[in-house]
Structures are given as C-alpha cells and as structure tokens.
Symmetry: C2
Subunit: 435 residues, 2 copies
C-alpha cells in the first residue's frame, strides 16, 4: 500500500503543547508497548506498519515539521516537503509527483491519501487497504465515508446512493447545523474524513492539468506561485464518478483537549497528583515541577514551558482566540539537530539550554549584538571559534564575544547552558558562514 | 502602643506559594495604594502605623524569616529572633525580655500580643489600642474575643460572664464540633483569636517563674533547652482573673487558598487570562509564563517555580497531605542578601539565577565536589577568588573550579547565572572562610 499522510499546519487548539512551531501531531501522549509515549504521528505510523509492513508511507508536510518527523519516525519515512503552505490540493499534487519522480513508483499503483491525525484502530488501516484495492481495480477516485456516531456540525457529509458497503456518491454537503446533520444521517449520509484513493496516474493527470507542471522538480520550484485551494474544491467536487466505501470502526478527530483526553490511556502524563475528589480530570505536564489537582470535575490541565492551561473540557474547544492574544515567546522547540529551551529571560540577557544530538553541528555563525557564554553540562563536543578547533566536555566554558564565528559539533549527545548577553537579543541577529 | 506580632512557622497550606522556606505571611497579594502588592506582614504593619504612627512593633519569629521581614519591612521594625522553634509561650517570653532589655521599654508599659496574619481593617487596630489601654489601667491580662460569624470548628471559644463590651472570662473551650459551637455561640461565646494584652512586668514575672531566666541574653542562649508549650496552656488557662473585650469588626484567618482568595482585591495576580465563563476563579501566578483558565467555577490556580496548584476552593483546605508527599526541591527563595531561583536541573549540573542586592556579599566559601561558572547578566560586582579581587560586569565570566575560595560583593544590584557542574551537587557541600 502507498499512503500519503497529510500532516497539517501548526495550531493553537492544543496550547500550551502545540504552538507556532510544535504541531499537535508530535505531542507524545499515547502509551506504547515499551511503556514510553508515542505521538499521533508515531502511533499512526506504527499502526500502518502493523497492518502492512511493506506499506510505503509518505508524509506531505511543511519544512518546519521535517525535523520533528525525522526525530520521531527515523529516516526511512518518505517526506514530501511543501516549500510553503498552499492548502491540500497543491500538497497532494506535490506528494504525487514525489512518489512518481523521487520514489519512482509505477503510475498504475494505487495511492491512499488521509490525514495524519485521526485516532483509529487497526480496522481503519484494514479499511484503507480495501480502499486501495478498490482504487487498483477501477478508474477514478474512491473515498472512505465514516458512519456518523452523532449529528456533528464539525464535518462535511457524503450522500451515497445506497446503503451498500460501496456505492456511488450522489453529492457532498458542507458542515451542517445539528438539525440538518440529523436529516442527512437519517438518509444514510457519511462523514467526509478526507480519505481518498486513486491510481497514481489519475492524480498526476489532474495535477498537470491544474498546475501546468508535469514533474516534481518544476512543481517544487514553482510551488509558491500555486493558488491555495483545497483538494475537495479542486478535485473531489468536480469528479462525476466517485465511489464511497463505508467505514464503521473507531474514528476520532483529536483536535481539542476534550477529544484528545478521551483518547488518553492514563489520566496523568508527567509530574502530577490528584485527589480522590477529582472526576474526569486529565493532567498533561511537560514541566519539571509538579501539578496538584484537588476536587476538580471535567477539567484538563496542561502545562509546558510555554504556559499553563486549566480548562473545563467542553470549554477547551474555544481556547484559540485567547491563545492568539497571548504574546509569549516560543520557549522550547525540537529541531533537526536537537532541542532548545529558554530557561531565563532578563532585560539584557537570555539563558537557553541547548541539546545537540550526537553527530550534529550548529551552523557556523556569528552574532553582531550579543556575546554568548556556553557551559557544557553534559557530553563531549568539538567547538570551532574563529577557525580554531577545541575539544570540550562537562564543566568547560566557551566565551563567544560578539562578531566571532562559532559552532559546535556533538561528539556525544551534548548539553550546553548558553547565556546570551546584549541589549538587542534577537533570533534575527545571526550571520551564517561556510566552515 | 507596644505590639508583638507572632510570625508563625512555614506551612504548606498555601503551596506552591508557601513552602518550607517561604511562609504565607510574605506572599504579596494585597494591592496597595502604589499599585504594587503587599504581603500579609506588610499590610498589617502599614495598618498599625496608620492607626498609631508611634506604635513600637516587634516581630517574634525564627531566624529563617529575618531576611524576608527586613526585605519587606525595612530595618526599623524590631525583631525578636527565636534561635529555634519552641511554640508560643517561649516565643512571647523571649519577645518580652527583648522589649525590656534590648528595646528598654518601661516595665509598666502595656504590651499587645497578636498573630501577624489575620485579615483585618483599621477597626481591629483601634480595638487593639483599647485593649492596650485596658491593660495599662489594670493588672493581669486582657484578651480580645471575636464575635463569631458562623459556628466554626477551627477556633477555640471564650465564654464570657456577660454580654458587656468588657467582661470576665468564665472559661475557655477547645475547638468544638459545629453543633457544639452553635451552643456556645447561643450562650454568647467569642472566638479566641490569640490576642492578649498585659503590662510588660506581668509577663516578665511569669516568664522568669516558668523559664528560670531573668534576662534576654540568658533566655536567648538557653532557648533550645525550653519546653515547647503554647501560651494558652502555659499562661492563659492558668490565669484566674481574665478580662475579655468583644470585637465585632472584620477578622479573617487567611490560612487556606479559599479564605485567602476571598480577601484578594483582584481575581488575577501575575500573568493570567480567564474567559467569561469562569465564575469565582482566582489566578495567582508567580511564573514567567501565562496561565489560561477556561470555563472554571470556584477554582483557585496558583503557580510558582515550585509547582502548580489547581483546586476547587472548598477542597483547598485539604492540600497539606498531598503537598507533604511531593518531593520537590526548593526552587526559589528570598535571602538576606537577595534571592535565588533554580532554572535548570540535570543529572550532573544545576543552573541557578542568583540576585544580590547592592552592598551585599556572599560568604567567602568553597565547594569540594563541584565547579561553578558565573556569568554576570546584570549589574556590577567585585569578586574575590582565592584572595584575588576583580571587578566584574555584564558579560563577564568567572570560573570557580572545585576547592577554590570565592565570593562576590554587589556594587550595584547584580544578577548572575551560576552553572554548577559535578556529580554530587548538594547545598551541604559548602565550606565557609573568613575573608
């Protein structure tokens, strides 16, 4: 099975664990067999491989997610990188050319496209395989429709022309009111979960027609010039001969703290305590200090170095405008080379804990407006400061006056405490050089 | 008026703002006229001075609170320092000798003793003046009894022999059940708030009888040998001729988050946001990152570098056993010379932000098992490292290998980032030297 997982943009609905640089699909909340925690991306990838160990998985995403994906899934997974965000049709078109030109799969092979973040069990991936087979044995496009469990206002609806497992699509309906949703469901409507399958040749043809490019490189290079348009508008709603396959297994959208905590195996992740009077309370704590919950009901508490959310679960769907108003510096992030966490902020200084994974280097760079002092607190590395190499280890101090060119290579996993001193500390103040 | 304020021990009932080193009376939560926040101690001191600008205030407390008191009240206030904790009778005895021998007040002057932490208004201090006058114009001891507002199980009760403003005390009753409390109140009982007045000579005589010491120095030097006993047991309940003066003004014990938040002028202190669906919610946030509260009712959220409490207000009275179980390093504290805050903890390193107020020095000291690296991030200071003085300012780095003797004097307010590296980092690993 070829599967393209659409890994959407960053969002604030799961603040403080998701933010402008951390997307919800990378939050580690699902206990795995090793007693460790998996993210949504890791869970889905593991589930796909369990159902079809030969599955070729490609993640369609933006540059900003590449390091998180590689950190979490390793180097084997295919990644189709959108140079900029252009909605789902360009993303799927680019991923299709990536499969054809980079991965060089045959054009008559079927491809399944679905979001990276539904919360599902193995039956979903079994169904994707059926959908893939359906695409292989026919032309055009097949969709998966999810049997609704309640009259949701959050989803679009697919109206099929029969109650058969596979039937023709009569029409699509936009997100309805609850009353209208109830009518649709009475008529046998299905949720549109954005799950499609087709032969690669099918989508390549449409991609070429609509973008004017016929190969990966040209589409990639000209990606910014494409119009933002969703796959639903550009392709699905214009297609006359669509089939839909019913799916009645578990399928949840974990887009809010309310739905996310329903899917958690435990009530506490991280350092947390709650008393017996707590009812339906979840604590997700990524900070080093404890959270104590007393006598709460239907509440989610989520704490990260970016902030602390305490929300009634139903109300947690409405946090976005409040989070948008919070003007908080990004306090931590995973990067391709490791991670960083801001541990102190003063008027003329910033203190950061930097972790580089073994074998990684920073870019060789300098700053105009700040001095930096690194203290190695774990591991070994090789610094280069104005061309001079030096091996460093725990307790060593490296002074980096403004203007000096510097980098460090991690000989083992290495941690530094970096104190930045200056009156105009900014991420913009960085000039990169070849070493 | 001479007034002894008993400043009790540290407690965990207001965790995470109070802990083993920070007592509740020093938490800044009351908005003052300058738009700034006062602690309980500061509020009470300001109120006393407003009612009687000549009042001589002495705080009876332990060593550990002296720096907080000086930081918050300045150098003028009298402090009677208990070398160790021995309950209220020895504390009051020591404070009495402090007034006689150190402050040299006349032995026939009246003295009022009361706790430092009731939440009261000016009428309370007017009443204390009346109580003081009562003591001046009679012998023995006078108490203040507080008109109960509900049948509380938290207080002891005083049974007076009449409903007059001042009457003789018939007897005392221990903390009763609610039903029994209701009976007491029906008979005109008053709450025992631990507020006493007497001539200094009266208490000195009893102190000498019960401790065997007749002056401040001897009592101080032998303080550890005294038996722990409360003033109520040692003195009040043995006194046959007691008068009680009724007080019907505002009087609250701010011992739990529930009662404390009732006394707050604002619903949010620190970086916090709540949506309109929140009802009777308080946020007290001492962290640098924001707290967002959504759709909560009757909840207090309190966050400090030590931890995060989210509690139903009624349940907040029961946090102590849960807090006792939390094994959390003290992450920040005020000291006589400034403050410190632990900003990062790793296996073999600890990073601390240290603030020294202008004119203060650390003790000249060394560590056996750790190196330290200081980076100055604000202000100017003079370091001494193994006898060598050096002036330092922002951006300067001071390396302190294990074994070296070191100190810094703050020439201005100064901030350091101190990285401690070593395998056995402990506050015990410190040897102090004369400079």
């Amino acid at each position: 099975m070829n599967i393209i997982l659409l890994s959407g943009g960053s969002g604030k609905r799961l603040w403080p664990l998701s933010n402008d640089v951390r997307s919800k699909q990378f939050i580690k909340i699902f206990k795995n067999n090793q007693g460790d925690y998996d993210s949504m991306v890791q869970r889905v990838y593991r589930q796909i491989k369990a159902v079809d160990s030969d599955a070729r998985v490609t993640i369609a995403t933006s540059k900003s997610q590449v390091s998180s994906i590689k950190n979490q899934l390793g180097a084997e997974v295919g990644i189709s990188i959108e140079p900029c965000r252009r909605d789902t049709f360009p993303a799927i078109a680019l991923a299709a050319f990536y499969l054809a030109d980079v991965q060089q799969i045959e054009k008559d092979e079927p491809v399944v496209v679905c979001p990276v973040d539904p919360y599902v069990d193995a039956s979903y991936f079994e169904a994707l395989k059926e959908l893939s087979d359906l695409a292989q044995n026919g032309d055009g496009m097949s969709l998966m429709g999810i049997e609704p469990t309640y009259p949701s206002e959050k989803y679009g609806y697919i109206i099929p022309n029969s109650a058969d497992k596979v039937s023709k699509v009569v029409t699509f309906k936009e997100k309805p009111t609850e009353a209208v949703a109830r009518e649709y469901i009475d008529k046998g409507a299905l949720w549109n979960g954005g799950i499609f399958a087709f032969k690669l040749s099918y989508i390549l043809k449409i991609a070429e027609e609509l973008t004017g490019f016929d190969n990966y490189k040209d589409l990639y290079d000209n990606y910014a010039s494409l119009t933002k348009i969703s796959f639903d508008y550009a392709v699905v709603e214009k297609e006359n001969s669509l089939r839909v396959m019913r799916f009645s297994g578990q399928w949840k959208d974990l887009g809010t703290w309310n739905t996310l905590t329903e899917a958690m195996d435990e009530t506490i992740i991280g350092n947390g305590v709650m008393n017996d009077e707590c009812e339906n309370v979840h604590i997700i704590n990524e900070m080093d200090v404890p959270v104590l919950a007393m006598g709460l009901k239907d509440v989610v508490i989520s704490a990260s170095p970016d902030g602390i959310l305490v929300s009634d679960k139903a109300q947690s769907s409405y946090i976005k405008p409040y989070v948008d108003k919070i003007d908080q510096r990004i306090m931590f992030a995973e990067t391709s080379w490791g991670s960083f966490k801001i541990i102190d902020v003063e008027a003329d200084s910033l203190t950061v804990k930097v972790m580089l994974k073994k074998g990684n280097s920073m870019k060789y760079h300098s700053h105009k407006h700040r001095d930096e002092i690194w203290t190695v607190v774990e591991g070994e590395g090789m610094t280069v400061v104005d061309g001079v190499e030096e091996k460093v280890s725990i307790g060593n101090v490296i002074r980096l006056p403004r203007g000096c060119k510097h980098t460090i290579k991690a000989l083992t996993d290495i941690r530094l405490i970096e104190v930045q001193c200056g009156q105009e500390i900014s991420v913009e103040d960085k000039e990169v050089f070849d070493l």
